[in-house]
């Protein structure tokens, strides 16, 4: 037999025919189809024992109780804790995906710890007379805040800086009418579970220029001209006539008088977007003090902590006075715009920020040290604005830090030479010693009087899912409402045509990558780089829907994407919050949007 071409072809043909009669080709076809179930890049969730663990969310001062579903100890989903009397089992979208934060791709993963420490101690020893060492605490009211205050008291000319905390708390359950001047009641104000639980019992009058989430669900929304809130407040207080107010605010007279009547007849409360706004003083006129606006109470602290630096506001610091500034940005909170901080810094100031995000002060600091994120660090949470009784709850860590982190409290204590103890435990013991209130355990939903709990059990329960609540004592009127406005060093420019309205309060800091579901994948929430304009303003500036443009304020410029929305009034640009926007706009800013 010769190997002619024809024979070769026949050989191949026979081979092909034979192969079809074997399982090989068919098996390969099915196998490749199965391969598509397992091809590279499809992760396999770990299997293992599933257990529930409890902690508290530290992403905002609400500190909602969290039940984490854990596989082999690793949290895979978070949910609220139903029996919790304040958070009522509710979590906000940020809280629901909080367990993703340690793995955020944009997380600060390393930092010059040694160099920062050396620079700080050098600056402390070498600083001139009157030059201050300061800690900026964005979330005052925590136990670690006490550590900072003690540390600053231990250092000469130490300064504890924090956004001013209201001295009051709002008791929504006592209110029949709530008049909100732009307070995002349903979108980040107070404790979501608490607000929604009280919602059925009050009428909400939302006074703000644009229809936010809160305005959409309010019983009455009064669309007001931006910047005329004071006039409205004055009308409600009876200081000016309703007709005058109507003229200035653009709201119909009838609507104003209806609100005025409502707040006159029922237990009411007035809320402002900024808890320190002078608008809050309207509550005094409504006889709300001591009823719906009550004095804030703090949980007990060890006696040894009484030597602590007072809380100072940034505005009260003389210019160029701060030589060393340590910023605790580990928890997102009340961001102080950089233009308010910068003038206070000495020319050779050392600025160290503890943060997990490179978006906030990390843009301005010399040293960025990686801070732990929720749920990596044991921490307590400061009081929420709607928590009447004092509470103490610990965010027990669910996982070990996934990157080498610096604990800001420990580091500041070390710099100041404070004794190395666990302040949380100390405080828990102090609370236990006080003997007031009760302990709620989440696993079984049982509440026990503190008198029946040992200190160790108290500490254990706090760490395994529990919360201490003070007795609801007599409500007291708060001392000092309002009168303290925010300072703005960024000049207000009146030649800019648009009023900036923050439509969506954003806290800054890391967000779960899954937030893309609410932002890019559904447009439910505004992303930080978007602004919304009325069709008229867009037309006059030649801006297209979805077009690139530049937002200009007196403080700077930012490249943004413009959305055209007939729901936005003319003369207003809606922006999302966040550190960048805060740096750009500050408070009550005006802006211009031009085509890129």
């Amino acid at each position: 037999m010769t190997t002619t071409r024809r024979n070769l072809l026949k050989f191949v043909g026979g081979g092909a025919a034979g192969a079809l009669l074997t399982p090989a080709p068919w098996r390969l076809i099915t196998d490749t189809a199965l391969w598509s179930e397992n091809w590279p890049g499809i992760p396999r969730p770990a299997r293992g024992e599933i257990r529930a663990r409890f902690t508290h969310c530290t992403l905002c001062p609400a500190g909602c109780a969290v039940r984490a579903r854990c596989v082999n100890g690793q949290p895979v989903s978070l949910a609220g804790v139903k029996p919790h009397p304040i958070s009522h089992g509710a979590l906000c979208p940020w809280g629901i995906a909080g367990h993703h934060l340690p793995y955020h791709p944009a997380r600060v993963r390393q930092g010059p710890v040694k160099e920062a420490l050396a620079a700080v101690s050098r600056a402390i020893t070498q600083r001139g007379a009157g030059e201050r060492v300061a800690v900026l605490d964005l979330r005052p009211g925590r136990t670690v805040s006490w550590t900072y205050r003690r540390a600053m008291a231990a250092i000469d000319d130490g300064l504890y800086l924090a956004p001013r905390q209201p001295a009051y708390a709002i008791d929504l359950t006592a209110a029949k009418t709530v008049v909100s001047f732009g307070a995002p009641l349903f979108d980040g104000w107070g404790t979501p579970g608490n607000v929604f639980a009280a919602r059925a019992n009050f009428r909400l009058v939302q006074i703000e220029p644009v229809e936010t989430r809160t305005a959409a669900l309010a019983d009455v929304w009064l669309p007001i001209r931006p910047g005329t809130e004071t006039a409205m407040a004055a009308a409600l207080a009876g200081e000016i006539t309703i007709a005058e107010a109507a003229r200035e605010t653009g709201v119909e007279e009838q609507a104003i008088s209806a609100v005025k009547e409502a707040i006159g007849n029922s237990p009411a409360v007035v809320l402002a977007a900024d808890p320190g706004s002078p608008l809050m003083s309207l509550n005094a006129k409504l006889r709300a003090l001591g009823r719906t606006v009550v004095a804030r109470r703090e949980s007990p602290v060890p006696d040894a902590w009484k030597k602590a630096a007072p809380s100072t506001e940034m505005a009260a610091v003389p210019d160029k006075a701060i030589r060393v500034l340590l910023i605790d940005e580990s928890l997102p909170g009340g961001y102080v715009p950089w233009q308010d901080i910068q003038p206070k810094l000495a020319p050779n100031a050392v600025v160290v920020v503890f943060s997990s995000s490179s978006e906030g002060y990390a843009r301005h600091a010399q040293y960025v040290l990686p801070a732990p994120v929720y749920p990596e660090m044991a921490e307590d949470i400061g009081p929420a604005i709607d928590t009447v009784a004092a509470v103490f709850r610990i965010a027990a860590p669910l996982i070990a830090p996934v990157v080498p982190v610096v604990n800001p409290g420990e580091l500041v204590a070390r710099i100041a030479g404070l004794p190395q103890t666990d302040p949380l435990r100390d405080r828990a013991d102090a609370i236990h010693k006080a003997g007031r209130g009760s302990l709620l355990s989440y696993a079984d939903g049982k509440s026990t009087s503190m008198k029946e709990v040992t200190a160790d059990d108290f500490w254990k329960t706090l760490n395994q899912g529990g919360c201490w609540m003070d007795d609801t004592g007599k409500k007291a009127a708060p001392a000092g409402l309002g009168k303290f406005g925010r300072s703005g060093t960024c000049p207000t420019a009146h030649d800019l045509p648009l009023a900036v309205v923050v439509a969506e309060a954003r806290r800054g800091g890391l967000e779960s990558p899954l937030m893309s579901k609410l932002e890019r994948e559904s447009n439910l929430r505004m992303t930080a780089n978007r602004v919304a304009l009325s069709p008229a303003d867009a037309r006059s500036n030649g801006i297209e829907n979805g077009g690139r443009c530049v937002l200009e304020t007196a403080c700077g410029r930012l490249s943004v994407v413009a959305m055209i929305d007939a729901g936005v009034p003319a003369g207003v640009v809606e922006v999302a919050g966040g550190p960048r926007m805060a740096d750009l706009c500050g408070a009550n800013q005006r802006a211009r949007v031009v085509r890129a």
């Binding site: 598509s36 179930e37 890049g41 499809i42 992760p43 396999r44 969730p45 770990a46 299997r47 599933i50 579903r69 690793q74 949290p75 895979v76 989903s77 978070l78 949910a79 609220g80 509710a90 979208p93 629901i96 995906a97 367990h99 993703h100 793995y103 955020h104 791709p105 349903f186 979108d187 579970g193 929604f196 919602r199 229809e211 989430r213 959409a216 669900l217 669309p223 996934v402 990558p513 899954l514 937030m515 893309s516 579901k517 609410l518 890019r520 994948e521 559904s522 447009n523 439910l524 919304a532 009325s534 069709p535 959305m563 055209i564 929305d565 007939a566 729901g567 936005v568 009034p569 003319a570």
Partner: protein
């Protein structure tokens, strides 16, 4: 064996503040990956999507409502089931849940074309989580691969878990409290409710009977099992066909 269930949901639009907790809980529960760089609202995967809906008027008459739209679990003539060429979609007679089998799906997307509610989502990209984040995946739900369609199945992983729990107790019937989809559990305002529509004692079945209750595109006859309700007239109107003059829903 117990009588067949007809799981459904009732949604009070007047309570929904559009916070998005349901969408996040859903994505966490069902191992939905975060969107890649190039994704937008037309290519994302959100088994439940809260639409920002307005009354088509301009400021200051503009009023907004938030409408969560998930698979409507059509009970009659289910459009996606009979178009699927290879039986990757089926209706479970036991639960009434419309199920999508990603491993059977070839990604032809005919079901997406057939679905009037746009509640089906295609995996345009390979599923990708940031490094380490794959540790947070739910073991009760298999991650899907690129090129297949997926949709809400009322958190079927939770149904499995509830079944398993019942089995451990020696029972076939699950405890209703054990089976609640993630979105319902997560809703902070209580706008979403879940339960068996065929049992008239459940809250959902009663909600469905309310006069202000409606379903989306009821006239096309798909008998969806998601019952919406609102006391606002204009909100109830969204159940009907689109009005052509209102074209300015620019923000999605």
């Amino acid at each position: 064996m117990s009588a067949n269930k007809r799981y459904g949901m009732s949604i009070d639009i007047d309570k929904c503040n559009g916070c998005g907790a349901c969408m996040m809980a859903c994505a966490v529960e069902n191992n939905i990956p975060p969107a890649p760089e190039a994704a937008n609202d037309r290519r994302g995967v959100t088994w439940i999507r809260v639409y920002k809906v307005d009354n088509h008027l301009a400021y200051p008459e503009r009023r907004t409502a938030f409408v969560p739209v998930l698979c409507q679990q059509c009970g009659h003539d289910t459009p996606c089931v009979h178009v699927c060429p290879q039986q990757a979609v089926d209706v479970d007679p036991e639960t009434g849940i419309v199920g999508q089998m990603p491993e059977r799906c070839l990604g032809c997307r005919y079901c997406m074309v057939a679905c009037p509610y746009h509640a089906r989502y295609f995996n345009w990209w390979d599923p990708k989580w940031p490094a380490g984040m794959e540790k947070t995946l739910n073991p009760d739900v298999a991650p899907r691969m690129r090129g297949v369609v997926e949709k809400c199945n009322f958190c079927h992983g939770r149904w499995h878990a509830a079944q398993q729990k019942a089995a451990a107790a020696g029972q076939r019937e699950i405890d209703a409290a054990d089976y609640v989809p993630a979105c319902v559990e997560a809703c902070p305002t209580g706008a979403l409710r879940f339960g068996d529509l065929s049992d008239s004692s459940t809250e959902v079945a009663q909600d469905a009977q309310r006069p202000e209750s409606f379903r989306l595109l009821e006239k096309i006859g798909t008998e969806p099992k998601i019952h919406y309700r609102s006391r606002r007239d204009w909100v109830r109107e969204i159940a009907s066909a689109p009005r052509p003059e209102g074209k300015d829903g620019l923000r999605g």
